[in-house]
């Protein structure tokens, strides 16, 4: 079994770049951390490049040892980990995205410039739990493969397709297929989500934490929805709002 001890190792330097969006885009790989996610990746038959096990954890994780396993030193584990305390197991996965993975048979969630990785991950987890078909992350949003997004998604991106694509193109495409696209907005032209009867198949767009869905995109939607607010809060957290809508609209 290969063993890497130094953070100066060329392969480690390449993996380290996967902690940045640029590095992930170039190498078409990403890192996951922790036994739970590695387990989910294996269960989902995700395309695996390497499993990295810290040398002091070999006994604990011996069931993960295969030809893709590399032993790493504590120093290398710390170098590649995004967590405050790493669990001593990481994996390098290949990015495999395909728009064809969306069959348009169940609802879709679309994210327009959602900036916080915790929000994006939580929305993916909720879309999974709500039984949605998939998630489309638009330009300007934080990406799925950000380590913090992956952590918040808790493995749900292995359960349903999550792709990065243009939301304007997709909105057009869905409307052409007679699939309604609902934006979310606080303006006068929006209707309460409690007032509409949703069909079995639709798409829901949630937007940026501060600015919501882009006005140009809201103009293209079938309808725009809002959640009536009773108290004095100005708005809801976007992951909360998106989740309330997914569970209320798709039963």
């Amino acid at each position: 079994m290969e063993k890497i001890e130094s953070i100066q190792n060329k392969q480690v330097k390449e993996w380290k770049k996967l902690l940045t969006r640029k590095g992930r885009k170039k190498q078409q790989q990403y890192i996951i951390e922790g036994a739970h996610l590695v387990e989910e990746a294996l269960k989902a038959n995700a395309s695996l490049s390497h499993i990295l096990i810290r040398e002091d954890k070999v006994a604990e994780y011996d069931h993960y040892i295969s030809k893709e396993t590399v032993l790493i030193s504590t120093e290398v584990a710390d170098e590649l980990s995004d967590a405050v305390t790493n669990q001593g197991i990481l994996a390098i996965l290949n990015i495999n995205e395909s728009e064809e993975s969306l069959t348009l048979k169940k609802p879709l969630l679309m994210l327009d410039e959602v900036q916080d990785p915790g929000n994006v991950g939580t929305l993916i987890r909720s879309a999974d739990a709500a039984g949605f078909e998939g998630v489309i992350i638009g330009k300007g949003s934080v990406d799925l493969y950000n380590p913090k997004t992956i952590r918040s998604a808790q493995g749900s991106h292995f359960h349903l397709p999550v792709i990065h694509a243009d939301l304007y193109d997709w909105t057009e495409k869905l409307k052409q297929k007679q699939i309604p696209v609902y934006g979310t907005a606080l303006d006068d032209r929006a209707v309460s989500y409690q007032m509409i009867k949703t069909p079995k198949n639709f798409a829901l767009i949630v937007g940026n934490e501060g600015n919501g869905v882009h006005p140009d995109l809201l103009k293209m939607t079938t309808k725009n929805l809002y959640i009536p607010i009773k108290g004095e809060a100005e708005s809801l957290n976007v992951a909360v709002a998106g989740s309330i809508l997914m569970f209320a609209l798709y039963r």
Copy 2:
């Protein structure tokens, strides 16, 4: 106007302690940061001890200058700030909690050992938006006055009473007053939230991120609810689950 330049200043050292739970408990004060929260505190007539303005921000924040204002150096601002980049304005507020602030005329949210400050803050924000009367934070939960909780609550704790109290005592008390208390659980004895008709007044308990509501507490409730999960996700984020329930149960 008083001006404090050194982090060795005795007052600064006392304020610094407010970043810890122990310090807040002892001094019965807490720190808020940023113009938005200071504005909300003033609007709500929160009990204010001091407004701290960084010297380079005096012109920008001159409308906040009063007898409670203290000018501080950049060094002091950094010392007291929990944010990555501080906005140059903070306030020291007095903690004023009273169980009598809850009149039991509208629903209550109760938090049992919720650990993540972002989740507690988001739940307070959602409770505000859902029109709930107040929030009770049980023992073992992160406290309201944690700077990260305050940040996630986005000022909602100024809009509705948030108190720290014993959830077992409160569950008893509410039941004695014929106010139903709903726990949340994933076990067999729980019923889908979609299957119940809630009265105008009730309490909802959400629990720890990993373990849910404590089994002893679940035994005391009127009924325990769950959110049916359609996909493969094992669970929902607690702030999401609590918010879905608040909005669905109280319309």
